[in-house]
């Protein structure tokens, strides 16, 4: 496994907001096709880390490599073009646009110059329409294409959000609590969705729902107070004493 070159490599990244140290000396990597879960209590710095990876927040220190290239100096759109795509903890779709238009925005972002066209109606672009519908179909919401995004249920919005992040076969997906606010049924549906995608693209997955996390992740990193305290496969994390102390609040049952 260690022979594979990581898709993402984070090296000694730190970030503080004024007096609050959100991340301190974080290093981790995500291998090709791997689902790497990031868990940790509220305020551990998970979202801040994702925002730094996506280029929205500039780290105070450290470096971020995508496929071996230093991307630390690139801004969010530049990283998105290179294949780092994210979803947001707080549902973040374009509420006043239709579902199809949401997907279209994701699709045409990759087509470069065409987005500066001011004369030809967007509706005339069959190819774009088809690829937008295909993106929706991937997460099973193509039937909702003409609805305003605001009219979707919470779960459907989360799916739309995922569809937009998946456009263009990203190198790395950053998913910030994709199950947040979902009911049990919706969660298991989303887990299935992600399981289908798993292997095709590398994922860094933040999640509080530990059942979902353990069923999806190949590896986990536990973040506490902005610093990784453990990284490993699900079994080793389950039995890690430090993790239990910090995160689960109790010691694992040790055989005597």
């Amino acid at each position: 496994m260690s022979l594979e070159k990581p898709v993402l490599s984070v090296q000694n990244v730190s970030k503080s907001f004024g007096g609050v140290q959100a991340n301190r000396d974080v290093s981790l990597d995500v291998l090709p096709g791997e689902v790497h879960a990031l868990i940790g209590p509220n305020g551990a710095g998970k979202t801040t880390l994702i925002s730094m990876l996506a280029g929205e927040v500039t780290p105070n220190d450290g470096a971020i490599y995508l496929d071996g290239h230093d991307v630390t100096g690139l801004n969010a759109p530049q990283r998105a073009k290179r294949g780092i795509r994210r979803s947001f903890q707080i549902t973040s779709v374009f509420a006043e646009l239709t579902v199809l238009e949401n997907a279209t925005l994701a699709c045409q972002a990759l087509s470069g110059r065409a987005t500066y066209r001011t004369w030809r109606p967007i509706a005339a672009d069959r190819q774009l329409r088809d690829s937008s519908l295909a993106a929706l179909d991937k997460v099973g919401i193509a039937a909702l294409a003409d609805r305003p995004a605001a009219a979707l249920s919470h779960g459907e919005k989360r799916h739309l959000e995922l569809a937009m992040a998946l456009v263009g076969e990203p190198r790395l997906l950053l998913l910030d609590e994709p199950f947040a606010g979902m009911g049990a049924d919706e969660t298991s549906e989303m887990v299935e969705r992600l399981r289908k995608i798993k292997g095709t693209t590398a994922m860094l997955l933040i999640e509080h729902d530990l059942d979902a996390v353990f069923s999806l992740a190949d590896r986990l990193t536990v973040l506490v107070l902005g610093t990784p305290v453990a990284t490993g496969d699900p079994d080793s994390i389950r039995s890690n004493a430090e993790v239990h102390a910090a995160y689960f609040g109790k010691k694992p049952v040790t055989p005597c």
């Binding site: 929205e56 759109p77 972002a109 001011t118 109606p121 967007i122 937009m164």
Partner: protein
Amino acid sequence: MKALPDWAFTAAVAFCGFAFFAIAHATGNAIWTDVASRILVYGLAAVSLDILVGYAGMVSFGHAMFLLCGGYAVGILAREGLVSGFIQWPVAMIVSGLLAALIGPLVLRTGGVYFILLTLAFSQMLFFLFTGFSRYGGDEGLQVYPRSEFIRAVDLSNPDTLFIVVLLVVCVALYAMQRLAKSPFGLVLKGCRQNEKRMQALGYQTFRYKLLAFVIAAAVCGLAGAMLANVTGFVSPEYGSWQRSGELLVMVILGGMGTLRGPLIGAIFLLMLEHVLSEQTEHWPLLLGVLLVLVAIYLPNGLRTVSVLFRRQSNVS
């Protein structure tokens, strides 16, 4: 309900314009055309502002500076002996666009309230710059003489001819902006207004799109300024006063932003009302204020949605 084609709105404006023209003449009120030309020009300026406010979510409080820019382009060129409208009007657009390209990178660094403040600041700077230009009339303003010259048959000092030219130009510009609203670029602007951070996460360098929108809106408003100079026969720094920028914003919001149709309706309504009320009483701004409050409360989507009121009534009865 099937959506109307793009050109339907433009065609409706053209039709209403000609119908108005015919009626004004038939009833011996040819003098109306002057007011109508003015309304159309302001309507175009308001529609260009709507590209910023309603589509891209950039609330500019200095949009009238491009009226000033376009107006002075015509006034100064005429003064210096360059009278061809084929040159003056494009120059008005280019100069306005260039000004926007120049200040855009500064004002677009900020968002929200600071964007409002900075656009206001730049328009005030331009205002005071022109009050100091004594060669071009300073704060007294500048006669636009002669009017822009096109072909011999088109004499813009004739109010009727001017009205027809303004109507045609406004229709063409409206059509172009309708196309823009439905284009890939238009969708990007809507995305920027609703959630700029999301747009960046999708890979859009939102700054570039907003700058381009700023330049396009400025150029169109510059064209309106060029026409306004011909309608009034006079340009002054007042063209770019903050009150005028405010009026343009009122037209956009009153009519219904993000629709292009709305701001035109807003312009027609506001200027007609101003025209009628100011003849009745000097306290007309007070009445206007009351009306704005009523619209804000009962028609949050603008005058464009006035039919909602009747629908609501018929539901009750």
